[in-house]
């Protein structure tokens, strides 16, 4: 069993069978959210550690 790769773009086929670029893959939405959350959590932990060192 292989893990599913994250797609970067959505591609469909038109009436003639040609590939058409549809837009960005929405698999990237949770990635964008996770990056934001990671920065926030990372900084919050850094603040907590710094604060406890100072006290």
């Amino acid at each position: 069993m292989t893990p599913e790769a994250v797609e970067f773009v959505r591609i469909s086929r038109d009436a003639w069978g040609q590939e058409v670029l549809e837009g960005i893959s929405w698999d990237l939405l949770p990635v964008a959210f996770a990056i934001g959350a990671l920065v926030i959590i990372g900084h919050a932990i850094y603040r907590l550690i710094n604060k406890s060192r100072r006290t």
Partner: protein, 198 residues
């Protein structure tokens, strides 16, 4: 009380504060109407999305025109001394970086969002989905989506930092326009901002 009032430094003019909050509201509306349907929350989002996009475009145009003065450009420009860790002028390095990153992503969403208006019907124009070739539309949609996701990440980080207790004076200044000299965080150099002319 009068001493406190005399000690106030104007950080943001009223027009800039209005710009900030109009931009914030329209960006949040655009992110919500653009991304919530993707995660399965179905609602009639198109009207709110394109109207918010027009509001954002107008706000950014006004801001761009107002920013085209040497003093304003200098206050937000990243200089070598910012990178070498010198004390900040009006804006800290982190604030400048956030401004530039959000400017870039918002400008890309606007530049790609405006042609997308041709794909919807409105009281002001008729839809024309054949304005561009399919491949060109694909590139426009990819850039719009990518810039939107980056805007989401940046907005999350921006809101988080603005709510931190040590940054709250900046948030208050963005609401009521002023900051006192006593509240001015230590990372600001009083010789660079508010400057000897004030």
């Amino acid at each position: 009380m009068s001493a406190i009032v005399a000690d106030r430094i104007e950080r943001h003019a009223a027009v800039d504060r209005v710009f900030h909050w109009v931009t914030a509201a329209s960006v949040l509306a655009l992110l919500a109407t653009g991304l919530l349907p993707v995660v399965g929350l179905k609602f009639p989002w198109v009207l709110v999305h394109w109207v918010s996009g027009i509001v954002l475009t107008l706000a950014v145009l006004v801001h761009l025109l107002r920013s085209l003065s040497w003093g304003k450009l200098c206050s937000i420009w990243i200089r070598w001394r910012d990178l070498r860790g010198a004390r900040a002028g009006k804006y800290t390095l982190a604030q400048k970086l956030m401004h530039h990153a959000l400017s870039l992503t918002v400008l890309i969403t606007i530049a790609t969002g405006l042609p997308m208006l041709a794909r919807i019907d409105s009281p002001f124009w008729e839809r024309d989905p054949y304005l561009f070739a399919a491949g060109t539309w694909g590139v426009i949609y990819v850039l719009h989506g990518l810039a939107s996701l980056l805007t989401l990440t940046l907005a999350m980080i921006h809101i988080y930092f603005s709510l931190l207790p040590e940054k709250r004076t900046y948030l208050r200044a963005m609401w009521n326009g002023w900051i006192t000299r006593a509240e001015l965080p230590a990372e600001h150099d009083p010789d660079r901002w508010p400057g000897p002319q004030r």
